[in-house]
Amino acid sequence: MKPETNTPDARAPRGHPRRGPGRVWALVVESLAVVGTLMIGALMVIICADIVFRNLLGASLPLVSELGALVLVMIVYLQLATTIRADRLARTDIFLPLIRQGYPRLGAGIAALFDLVGAVMLGLIAWSSIRILEKDFSSGEFIGVTGIATLPTWPFRVLILLGVAVAAVECILRALENLRNPKTGVDPQ
């Protein structure tokens, strides 16, 4: 929840449903997160390789800074859904928990409303990103320098769009769960 909370066991992630559509969805969210997590390791390796090349062999590896930037954006959106699922987005924890204790239905309603706003905002981002993806694809947008090394940007855009869309759906599911089980809900933990 708080960006600085870093004890690995600080928050229990939401439970995994054992079967049914819930299980499949959890798998989708988790697989995206796994790709994102692997990318963090990859990012470290790419940058370290560049350091070694430049300091030992005197030459920069091509594409590193542009690729690093794009990979980072990918990491963020691929892990967005799982971060939302683990309720780790920064927020104040003072007022809403009190409402939920005193007035569970009202509290669940507010929590669901917040989830829906999140879904709408992420939905708008996804909608708007489709156009960006289309343009990058049709114009052959690339990073790098012609003649040295280039890489098309559209595959990255696809993953970004996918991550945002899955995160938007995750928000909707959270809202539904809050409305269905006002007492337990998903929020706060």
């Binding site: 430049r54 005197g58 030459a59 920069s60 800074s65 052959g140 947008e141 003649g147």
Partner: protein, 335 residues
């Protein structure tokens, strides 16, 4: 009648061609409109990256996030392929006003070049160019052969200008050059006097090896086409005139300012140890440099041709237009 327009840029107004959007383009537009007094523009200014950063100058005007903005074509090689002609023909001209004239002329005569801008839902009003590139180093150079084995900071696409010289390009931007050179990430930088002066690059790289390595076309002031279509004809005419005035003033400004900045750096760095020194490079060294380069223009034109745009044809027109304007390119890239 008052028309409200947003004008924006990724760079701050201390950058001369951004500042001149205020002092020349906007001021002249206002001046022309004031003559009849029918229309008045209320400018909502968002300079200096408050609305978008350098990585989105084209799309922000295209999408109407701003009405008017400076589009940095250097960073849009995929969207504006033909506009990259000057960075891929190093040292073809060292005369910014002529370069701008030629680009202005091609924008009218070459349909593909104009279309690559207009297809992005914008109308070009004025053009911009860089001043001249030199090599800033910690130790003086005696000739271009000295950079063999050196690490030189250069922004993205200009890394190409070091191919074949034996120097290694360290990717960077104006914001990173100072620390990169200071800390030894690089031994110097390939950059412009206009960029080097404000970042005080001379403090860490006091030798300015003056190659006058040519100017490059850097972009345009453009207005979103949807906005453009809603403007009354009188306003459109005023903006077109103001844009022409801007381009012309900016071209001359680049020539004057290049000298001014070089002198200023020598002046500011006179007391430091070692003092800032301009190392003039004979034309033969510039020629040696350009002759070392691989066929950058040919490679580039072929890659643009492959995208379906007339790269080779445009390269020929560009070089011919320079020669027609009285320039003697250091290398005939089209031949």
């Amino acid at each position: 009648e008052t028309i409200s327009l947003t004008v924006a840029s990724s760079h701050p107004t201390v950058v001369p061609w951004v500042g001149m959007i205020q002092t020349h383009f906007m001021a002249r537009t206002d001046e022309i409109l004031a003559e009849s007094g029918d229309y008045k523009i209320e400018w909502n200014e968002a300079f200096g990256g408050t609305l978008y950063k350098a990585n989105a100058t084209l799309s922000s005007v295209e999408e109407g996030i701003t009405d008017v903005g400076w589009v940095f074509s250097f960073l849009e090689p995929a969207q504006l392929p033909l506009s990259q002609v000057s960075t891929n023909t190093p040292f073809a001209t060292a005369n910014p006003p002529v370069l701008l004239d030629v680009m202005e002329q091609l924008l009218e005569s070459n349909d593909a070049f104009r279309a690559e801008w207009e297809d992005h839902n914008l109308k070009v009003l004025g053009l911009t160019a860089t001043d001249l590139y030199d090599i800033y180093t910690k130790e003086p150079l005696t000739g271009i052969a000295d950079i063999d084995g050196m690490k030189l900071s250069a922004p993205g696409v200009l890394g190409n200008w070091l191919r074949g010289t034996g120097a290694n390009a360290v990717d960077g931007a104006l914001t990173t050059f100072y620390t990169d050179v200071q800390t030894g990430v690089s031994d110097g930088a390939l950059t412009l006097a206009l960029g080097a002066m404000p970042i005080k690059l001379y403090e860490v790289a006091p030798y300015i090896n003056r190659f006058d390595a040519g100017a490059a076309f850097s972009g345009a002031i453009a207005i979103n086409a949807d906005t453009w279509d809603t403007l009354p004809e009188e306003v459109q005419a005023a903006m077109i005139a103001a844009g022409k005035y801007y381009t012309e003033s900016h071209g001359q400004d680049m020539v004057d300012r290049h000298e001014l900045m070089l002198n200023l750096m020598v002046q500011n760095g006179a007391e430091q140890d070692p003092p800032v020194t301009i190392v003039p490079m004979p034309a033969s060294e510039r020629q040696a440099w350009v002759d070392m380069l691989p066929d950058l223009a040919g490679e580039w034109a072929a890659s643009v041709d492959a995208l379906g745009a007339p790269g080779t044809e445009f390269l020929g027109e560009y070089m011919q237009a320079l020669r027609d304007a009285g320039e003697t390119p250091a290398r005939d890239w089209d031949k």
